[in-house]
């Protein structure tokens, strides 16, 4: 192994330049807005953004308001990846190879309705960055199940809890043979920025998955967004990792000082789970990390 599993990232300076304007209409405590702020800090102003239907269709501002300092194309729900690929082709045909095109979609627009376009753009090795900010349900319509919703979650369309596991999209993206796949969350800005900077420098299709806590959808106080994201990582429920072409590397080893049950019980979307069900999820998480540690 080239690097230890708990390798330390070098401290990254957080650029001062703000490309997300204040006063945007995101809900208080929304994880998706500060995620965009961090992402654009790393990517810089030579970025064009394509956003399919999602909470971000609203956060970017209703006409004539606009919360970004970079150009943005809004598209229908399933069009994100293909429209971004078209935008990139247009720039290339006009001699611009420098501008980064970033598709920025929620989990519904990525895992479900936008999946075909995502797979096509990835398979064609389109020179672009695709970011999925995953709040684990269709939050813009009030919280309904997507294939990114974790097992057991209560949503508007799974009132008894979702029976199925979350789709393993990250390995599906790896199987496409893309240039870069990573996960990140706003609770760890150094890790977050490092990955976006890396993605900015690479060519070909890059995919970043963001865990994006949603206070209204997940059921936690709006000042706890960073805490919840941190609990997800430290309990091992969400793994910060990176695919370098051959292996998954954990970019931040969880302390496990937070129990998975505590992470789940801090959110009302899991409030209906019995002690046994909570334990079952914790057991699966432990088994996953057991496998990871054997590999790393």
């Amino acid at each position: 192994m080239d690097r230890p599993s708990n390798w330390r990232q070098e401290a990254v300076e957080i650029p001062r330049e703000e490309l997300l304007r204040p006063g945007h209409p995101a809900c208080p405590g929304c994880g998706a807005a500060p995620s965009m702020r961090l992402a654009l800090k790393a990517l810089g102003p030579k970025t064009m953004v394509v956003i399919p239907a999602s909470c971000w269709s609203v956060i970017a501002g209703a006409h004539p308001n606009f919360s970004l300092e970079v150009p943005l194309l809004h598209t229908p729900f399933l069009s994100g990846a293909a429209a971004a690929a078209g935008l990139k082709a247009a720039l290339e045909a006009q001699g611009d190879r420098e501008t980064l095109v970033m598709a920025w979609a929620g989990d519904g627009g990525t895992y479900d309705i936008g999946f075909q376009g995502l797979s096509g753009a990835a398979e064609r090795r389109t020179d672009m960055l695709y970011v999925c900010y995953d709040n684990e349900a269709y939050m813009n319509t009030g919280g309904q199940r997507s294939s990114a919703t974790p097992v057991g979650t209560r949503t508007g369309t799974t009132p008894g809890g979702k029976p199925e596991e979350k789709k393993d999209l990250l390995n599906i993206m790896v199987a496409h043979g893309v240039s870069y796949v990573a996960t990140a969350t706003l609770a760890y800005p150094q890790d977050f920025l490092t990955k976006f900077k890396k993605a900015r420098e690479k060519r070909g299709f890059r995919f970043i998955h963001l865990l994006s806590p949603c206070p209204t959808g997940w059921g936690f106080p709006e000042e706890k967004t960073v805490t919840i994201a941190r609990m997800a990582v430290e309990s091992g429920a969400y793994r910060l990792m990176e695919w370098d072409g051959e292996e998954w590397y954990t970019t931040r080893q969880p302390s496990f000082r937070v129990k998975v049950e505590d992470y789940l019980q801090a959110q009302t979307r899991f409030a209906h789970l019995t002690g046994q069900e909570l334990q079952e999820i914790a057991k699966q998480t432990a088994a996953y990390w057991e496998k990871v540690s054997r590999k790393e």
């Binding site: 606009f66 809004h74 293909a82 082709a89």
Partner: protein, 388 residues
Amino acid sequence: MVEKQLMLGSEALALGVKLCRPQVIAAYPITPQTHIVECLAQMVEKGELSPCRLVTVESELSSISLVLGASAGGARVFTATASQGLALMHEILHWVAGMRFPVVLANANRALGGPWILYMDQADSLSQRDTGWIQLYCASAQEALDMVPMAYRIAETHLLPVMVIMDGFWISHTMEPVEAPSQEAIDAFLPPRCDELKLDLDNPQALGAPSPSDTFYQIKREIQEEMERVLEAFPQYAQEYNQLTSRSYRLVEHWFMEDAQIALVGLGGITGTARYTAQRLREKGIKAGVVFPRSLRPFPGQEMRRLLKEVELVLVMNRALSPGMGGQLTQEIQSTLYGLPRVPQVTDWMAGLGGIDPTPWAIGEAVNRALKGERKIWTDRPIGAKRL
């Protein structure tokens, strides 16, 4: 003398695209359009379209989404489809038009299943009538070529998307002599795309943001008004094109209408058969003429009324059905003629669906029945493509 080459309708259309110097093409196969994107792929492979990017996408949803994004990047874009493919694009067709992107799309008319049907009718394009796209119909391979530069000229001048539509198989897969205009002629007719409707790093804006109702209402009103300006400007574009290429295109094509008592009205290839039939009918003393609105949207109502107001009978040759109402083209004609001091008899003839071929004999029979006063006609023994 200008040399003519024998080529398929789809090849002629692809040649028209090439002459317009597209910058991004989205390619996805579907019968009977596939030849168009194959031809273009070969041109790209040979370097004839450089620096054009041809992207082979994974569905029509992605082909139309891709040209949407590319158009937002300022490029001249093209894609082609047919039938199920056009139906699949429906949601994005609205989006492209609402955003005023000057996209040009070719459609080779084919029926919509189910059951499975490969043959020609116009249900696919007529079903997209209300999406905000201009629709230009073609009745020959030559027209399939010539309507592409016309489409880009209109699209980029008026910021409205345009469909160039030809009969699947009967034009797309039929070889005809075609006269290609020179590159110089097309370059003179069609300057590079130069509108400002594109993403710009120096002036960051959002395209397509959620809009308040009054803005949305205004956007739709502007589209309607722009459609009306297209009708006004079409004769000028046609005249310029005709001068550069020695053609004779008009907003509404018509033949033998000077003294006609019967007007045969249709879209696309059927008007060729109708012209032949009109001549045979005239030999028998029946004064028939033919009317072909080149553009279904915007609909040239004024010119149609001028041509049809004096006739006794309008026989509408429909190739698309609105079940529960009747022929789709009939509805257009009837609403156009409504309110004339003397409205001619309008007969709704279901001339052909799913590859039923309206032969001169079938047109003659429909004329006879309409002359006896029939208002709705289905052909009793329609002739079409053989069973598989």
